[in-house]
Symmetry: C2
Subunit: 234 residues, 2 copies
DNA sequence: CCAAAAGTGTTTCCTCTACACCCATGA
DNA sequence: TCATGGGTGTAGAGGAAACACTTTTGG
């Protein structure tokens, strides 16, 4: 695959996405590992000349996860000069066997507009891009070192997610359509990083009047079967 | 003054600032009026090649208000293609008597990183820039029409300000060092757009343990003199 | 019947609200 | 002494937290 031409994209502008998923009781995010470098990074990309910013982010996420409808939230734009480390991108491109032209646009200084996404872990089909060995899930508290300021971006994403937890009905976007109260509580606990009281949590969620109660889920275990819930649509 | 050269600035990237001040019981923001167009816009600018984003915003605000220390908060980046209206900037430049070169960089598509600032109205000395007739205060609910999406930017700034009102101790940045409880309440009411109860407000503020109480303020009016307060520095 | 987990009732505590009252000030 | 606005005391309403209790399930 040839190097992207600057004529296709807007120079100096990139996005990075922190994609949250929930599985086996753990909060996870997606990371790319670049060929032959051992370097990890957030999935990101560039904006085409006539493309809306948010459409660019959705396009990139669709290419890597196969998802069409994605819950997205912009949370910060990173524009410090300390992000300007042309040797990092140079090494990534060279490790892919590219010959880099003089003054190549991808080695310029970039401003990164950061988004977080919330997705249903089960619905994702991961597809690495041309520069990457892999794209995979990593537990939020067991991340490898990331390039540039991507570690800081993850921390800011997590902080914003916590602040928005009550205001924006985040929980549902990380679960399948129908879920038990226990599963929802596990999501909240994973995001906040602390245990919550079972009875208080249940009452609080029910009092918000945002859940529909459905049939019970029989698991074969010898105890009362929990109800399934879904978020109200309107 | 000659047209700025692209070599000095990063193309495609701009910032806009919503500068809040409080005076005579009203919440106000700063607007520029451009020469010979009747057009109003937020104070904004470009980022120099080796300049941190936030330093660029502070530089721009310092040039227009004379203030050195400014409370700044980034709240959103606007990147829709609908913002790309080169004829707007062309008219502004031409109204200033400039001859515009072919493919001039200021007529390109721009992404705008928006900040809001909170400042002490009394400390400001307003200075218009080269393109503007004036820079002046406008009451937040009596704004003229603004160019491009600047109206949307103001709305988003106000919304973010309201959401952050409790979390970030905003009130103090809009007042002088020392103020009465009544003045602080007036700031809150102006931001929220609604009346608050006097006694509840006082108790709430005091219970937060963020205020120091100082001497009384004697105004010569025939009633009990209110205490002056300041925000704790710690 | 038992163990385990889900769901609900109840008591307690704390906070916010509403309203009243007292205080300080200058005319 | 009065009018005005500032500050605080207090009783009641509302909601969160803690704990106990009941319910449901399969072994």
């Amino acid at each position: 695959m040839p190097l992207p031409e600057v004529s296709q994209f807007i120079p100096h502008i990139a996005y990075d996405s922190v994609v949250f998923g929930f599985s086996k009781g753990k909060l996870k995010i997606l990371l790319m590992e670049y060929h032959d470098t051992g370097w990890f990074a957030l999935p990101g990309g560039f904006v085409e000349r006539s493309e809306n910013l948010e459409d660019a982010v959705k396009r990139g996420l669709n290419e890597r996860t196969g998802l069409k409808e994605i819950y997205l939230e912009q949370f910060h734009t990173f524009g410090d000069t300390s992000r300007y480390r042309p040797e990092v991108m140079r090494r990534i491109l060279e490790a892919n066997g590219h010959l880099i032209p003089e003054n190549y646009w991808m080695l310029d200084r970039f401003f990164s507009i950061a988004y977080y996404a919330l997705i249903d872990y089960e619905k994702v089909t991961l597809m690495p891009d041309a520069l990457s060995d892999s794209i995979a899930w990593y537990e939020i508290d067991k991340l490898p070192d990331l390039i540039l300021d991507h570690g800081k971006i993850v921390q800011k994403a997590l902080q914003t997610l916590r602040e928005n937890l009550d205001r924006k009905l985040i929980g549902g976007n990380l679960l399948p359509e129908r879920f038990t109260m226990n599963e929802l509580q596990a999501v909240y606990e994973a995001i906040l990083g602390q245990k919550l009281r079972r009875t208080s949590f249940q009452r609080k969620m029910l009092s918000l009047d945002i859940l529909d109660r459905h049939e019970k889920l029989f698991t074969g275990k010898s105890h009362k079967a929990p109800y399934l819930y879904s978020f109200k649509t309107h």
